[in-house]
């Protein structure tokens, strides 16, 4: 066993930190898009629009049933061969698209479960004052479902941050890609991947702190 090259590791930190914004931006963009898509999918699953419902079920089934890596390759390397306009797509966009579609399928299911978990009295009260279905969802049901779904959704976000590392397989130089390049130059694979692992870990821990704050805020209305 050899000693760790600590100087190399410390030197690597600022290099990799430079890629944190890209990693976070990809995760954040995918999270926002996935939340919107997942909410629409979930609402559809609850009210069950004929025909559309079958399409949504198929969508969720496919994106939950196949690996993220396979989906990314399918979008980035496969689809452009069939759909010519996609040849312009860059790795970052493809990664955001892949993460969005993949995670929206998972998130749709937990949002759907959260919506059906909102007490029946809340639906009836909204109906009784004459709200339309859209108003009822937006004003009463989804805000309460958000509280129920929040812990799982933050978990998906954490998973998504780590999932951005797969973008390096699409030729994107993000944190993981940069580490790969650094390690290939120095041959210090253990040091390099240890540093990047710790960086991911710190980001996720910071997020978990945010999660606790968020949950306290969402529970505000329910504290006695």
């Amino acid at each position: 066993m050899r000693a760790l090259d600590l100087d190399y590791m410390l030197g690597l930190v600022p290099v990799l930190l430079g890629y944190v914004p890209l990693t976070l931006a990809m995760a954040l963009a995918a999270m926002v898009l996935a939340l919107i898509l997942a909410s629409l999918l979930a609402v559809e699953r609850v009210i069950r629009v004929p025909v559309l419902d079958s399409a949504v079920v198929l969508f969720i089934s496919f994106f939950r049933g196949t690996p993220l890596l396979v989906q990314l390759f399918l979008f980035y390397y496969g689809l452009p061969q069939v759909l010519a306009f996609l040849t312009q797509i860059n790795g970052v966009t493809a990664a955001i698209m892949g993460l969005t579609l993949h995670f929206s399928a998972y998130m749709a299911e937990s949002i759907r479960a959260a919506i059906t978990g909102v007490d029946r009295s809340q639906w009836e009260a909204a109906e009784a004052v004459g709200m339309t279905r859209g108003q009822m969802m937006r004003r009463i049901i989804l805000p309460q479902a958000a509280r129920i779904a929040a812990p799982t959704l933050v978990n998906y976000f954490i998973d998504m941050i780590k999932g951005t590392s797969l973008a390096f397989t699409l030729g994107v130089t993000e944190m993981m890609g940069a580490t790969q390049k650094e390690a290939a130059g120095s041959f210090l694979y253990f040091e390099a991947f240890l540093v990047v692992a710790i960086l991911y870990w710190i980001i996720v821990e910071a997020l978990s702190f945010g999660q606790r704050r968020l949950e306290t805020r969402l529970n505000r209305a329910f504290a006695r």
Binding site: A125, E127, A128, V129, G130, A221, F222, A223
Partner: protein, 243 residues
């Protein structure tokens, strides 16, 4: 003037409402009494389509809805002409007492926030809850929650207020304050249709008492007549058991 004709509701093979006819004059306060499971709550819930009736018509003012072919637009119009007070309060759990009152005014009636807030302030004063304006339902007692529930309905200035056993879920200590508030609503000549087991209260405030049994109206009349001189043996039997 509110006119209900032939209102029918079946759950599977079970007929819960067997053709209800009921006319309600503006400002009239009607109390519905009768044994449990006899369709009293279902009648109320069919009037605003929380339960969809199978047949019959409901007319409130210019609006006339045929249950068999009611459109979504008609159902919304009917709900907006009525206000509902629930047995279990059913306050919006994610809204404060004040927001529970302003929510429908803003979202459904399209009032401005300041307009709705002014109305909420007035209603909170009338319900004695001004100091609870910023409290969420979870932090209120049962009695306070139901007063917010009644306040939410009052703020709508609906043509018809429906009360579905508003005191049945309350601890006995809170029943008095809720009945007091309902008395004040009654004094304002608000048109009310109330399902309750509070017979003394019915006697005090009702213009007319309706006795229902097995999905039908058996007998109706002014409280003195219905309570002191019931005509139908089923009414007599019921009143003997509850008083």
């Amino acid at each position: 003037m509110i006119r209900i004709q032939g209102l029918t509701k079946r759950f599977g093979a079970n007929t819960v409402l067997g053709g209800i006819d009921l006319d309600i004059k503006a400002g009239e306060r009607i109390v519905i009494i009768g044994p449990s499971g006899t369709g009293k709550s279902t009648l109320l819930r069919c009037i605003n389509f929380l339960d969809r009736p199978d047949a019959g018509t409901i007319a409130i003012g210019d609006l006339s809805v045929d249950a068999a072919k009611a459109t979504r637009r008609q159902i919304l119009a009917l709900r907006r002409a009525t206000a509902f007070v629930f047995q279990n309060y059913s306050l919006f759990a994610n809204k404060t007492a004040r927001e529970n009152i302003t929510e429908a005014l803003i979202t459904v009636r399209g009032q401005s926030v300041s307009e709705a807030d002014a109305r909420a302030d007035q209603v909170l004063r009338e319900t004695g809850l001004s100091d609870k304006a910023g409290s969420y339902p979870a932090a209120l007692s049962g009695g306070q929650q139901q007063r917010v529930g009644i306040g939410r309905a009052m703020a709508l200035d609906a043509e018809l207020m429906l009360f579905d056993e508003p005191t049945s879920a309350l601890d006995p200590e809170w029943v008095g304050e809720v009945l007091d508030l309902m008395r004040r609503v009654a004094e304002s000549r608000q048109t009310m249709l109330i399902v309750t087991h509070e017979m003394q209260f019915a006697r005090e405030i009702a213009d007319r008492v309706v006795f229902m049994d097995q999905g039908r109206i058996v007998e109706e009349g002014p409280p003195q007549r219905l309570f002191d001189d019931p005509q139908d043996p089923r009414t007599r039997d019921f009143l003997r058991r509850v008083t």
